[in-house]
Point group: C3
Chain length 306, copies 3
């Protein structure tokens, strides 16, 4: 079996069978991660460039580990050590990198659409590691993998995405992927953080966090991205926490069985209390582990296509 597309640009439009194939393949690699030797020779001799125009710890390291465990050769390109200030266009930079016979490019960029653009100017497989406010598909996939691992299914589950949905590529990838897999998706957050017309995507809106907790099986709690000016959309962090923060009290009172996800990094005491972030109902670090396995699956499936 093979994927329909040779790129992973987003989860919008990706067929159910393809998401299922990635999740099934990830399960195999998840087992490899428990072995003493966490390495397979699958992508030996392949070259992968990590083209990160935004700083990142976890996503970059997660991809790099996935690549090394598949025995690929990796090149890291980051704007801090490059000559991007020499006035070269982005297109010329990418065409140059591609001319060096690179097999795959993992790209993170502040502008939505950059990964799509790369597919037009490069022959490499393109994997979107986050583009502006558009999508972050491997995050969506690892969230689905983690939910399914814990609850045994995605179909029919009620999943609510909490926080600054309007400015979140994680939210969009979750919405597209979860709906394709048959989950019921809702969002919850202050009015300034919920996109107008989101109901058209088949997404329900909760205005009160207690209702969201009560009526869902899973909460995916987004981080308040202070570095992206999120503070301008809420009166104060304290007020945000008071009205929308996830706390152990709220969970106990409204739905002790709920499953909590968070893509990290966590702002403890803002979108989630420190106690809740370490509680028994959350699987935040499982998401991180699963992320490596999901990225190995995506790299493997794309890198071995004919």
């Amino acid at each position: 079996m093979a994927l329909a597309s040779r790129h992973l640009l987003g989860l919008n439009g990706v067929p159910k069978e393809d998401i299922q194939l990635i999740l099934d393949t990830a399960r195999t690699f998840r087992e490899v991660l428990e072995r003493p030797i966490k390495k397979v020779p699958t992508l030996q001799g392949k070259t992968i460039v990590n083209l990160f125009y935004e700083n990142s710890t976890r996503t970059r390291i997660s991809f790099e580990l996935a690549q090394k465990r598949l025995s690929a050769d990796t090149i890291n390109f980051s704007t801090s050590t490059s000559s991007t200030k020499k006035g070269e266009t982005f297109k010329d930079t990418v065409r140059n990198i591609e001319a060096m016979k690179v097999d795959m490019i993992v790209v993170r960029h502040q502008s939505a659409g950059v990964p799509h653009y790369l597919t037009r100017i490069s022959n490499a497989n393109i994997i979107n590691a986050g583009d502006g406010l558009h999508e972050h598909p491997t995050q969506g996939l690892l969230d689905m993998y983690s939910i399914n691992e814990k609850l045994g299914r995605l179909e029919g589950l009620n999943v609510c995405i909490v926080g600054d949905v309007a400015h979140s590529r994680v939210a969009l990838s979750n919405i597209f992927g979860l709906k394709t897999m048959g989950a019921n998706v809702s969002v919850c957050g202050p009015a300034t953080m919920i996109p107008i017309g989101i109901e058209k995507l088949g997404v329900k809106v909760f205005h009160r966090i207690d209702d969201a907790i009560k009526n869902n099986d899973v909460l995916n709690v987004l981080r308040i991205q202070l570095e992206r000016d999120a503070g301008r959309r809420i009166p104060s962090l304290r007020e945000y926490h008071q009205f929308f923060g996830i706390t152990t009290d709220r969970i106990k009172n409204h739905n002790p069985d709920i499953l909590i996800l968070h893509p990290g990094p966590i702002n403890r005491g803002v979108e989630i209390s420190s106690e809740a972030a370490d509680g028994p109902y959350q699987i935040i670090l499982d998401q991180v582990t699963n992320g490596v396995a999901v990225r190995m699956a995506v790299l493997y499936l794309l890198g071995t296509m004919h």
Copy 2:
């Protein structure tokens, strides 16, 4: 066969047979780059340090890819993440790195002569990846490889280097290498950018770009290095483009068969129009691909010497 020197510091004085050996070896590696598995075990267990005192995208990545495809272990040293601010002398830094039993050092430095200096304080093979205004030999080699690949020979060809010749290490490496291989080399640019007395190197000077196009088989168009203060040597970028910029009109009117090279990164609309940079007579991206093969050849020939 083996090279005469165990270092590659410049093309000045390198014998014709050695340049030919590098170009012939590069052809083998160029074929490796077309394979699905672009990797050979030749330099397994060898350690190569990339010592880059100037930021660089393409040269650093090109060398790093060449090293990984030869299965060498690579260490990147760049001033941005190092402790060079601790007051250590350059000599002590290098002697320290060398004491870690490094086999080869690829060095880029803003000062001419640094690679020569390294050969006196280190036992490693030294490869110059650009030193001040002196030389950039692997660029000269990849330019010659690319011309020969396209036109089938170097001997007797008329090659003109266009632009800020006086402040270009690419120009010097081209002049030395091409003349050794029997090409006729000329330069063209504003008077402020042509070194006084360059005729003594056996190099002809064109003052008008149309004459240069008319009377040559190949133009190697240098980039106007705005980051190196090139703007002070010309009245304006617009005027430079008007008098010396390569355009499709100029090519069509004066020599539609000419071959255009450019070492990159391109300033579109300055030394070359955007249309000409993407035209059928240029081989700019071939140069990039060939650069990896040429660097693999140099690393292989130096790394396996006895």
Copy 3:
């Protein structure tokens, strides 16, 4: 034989047999470094993260080379390319990295105790590469290895540590390690740089450098760490050099057989004259070479524990 602890946090409390085992193992790897192929497959499939919160050239490269020569996969995390500004706690960053199934973490941090803390929140083997003013155990080990290699023993030797002992993690690791191995340890420096009560550690204090040279077999000369505000503890660098600087005159006059060590980077003309730093009685670059072997030994012994 195996080490008592699965971490290397410092040399304080490490049993004599463990130090001996590391030094003996390092001798084997020191021989590997003289081979054309300096690589062994020992840690293939293991993942090591270099978590450097302080910039570093030699220690980071030394560890990275040691890792690659053991065939481990390495990930470099440095604050300059990471998202540490996103407000995540240090604990969450580390737990995230560890959740990616990392086998070992090499950590350098400006705060004393960070490596100990890591052992409580991570399952990986932790190696301290320098924590604040606390310890730098692999430096202590490589110093002992180098002394033993040159003088054939550690027991009964008189070793004096010269300089800003009060603000040196190198000094502390030397004191703990050397005393465990049976050496007599002393210190020498201006009163502002000698910790009050250091005699309680069984350490003798010399106030005059000439006495220290006269009465010791080995001097370990610390660098004046100007980047750590050392200038505030001495009237001037010139005066420091006059009273405590190691010069060839002083060595010749007081003890021509003395062995000089320096952890680098050297401030020539401050703690040691340029002539003395290059003299026949010093083994500064041997220390660097031995450092790679000692780090290979530590990584090997910790990485293959059951």
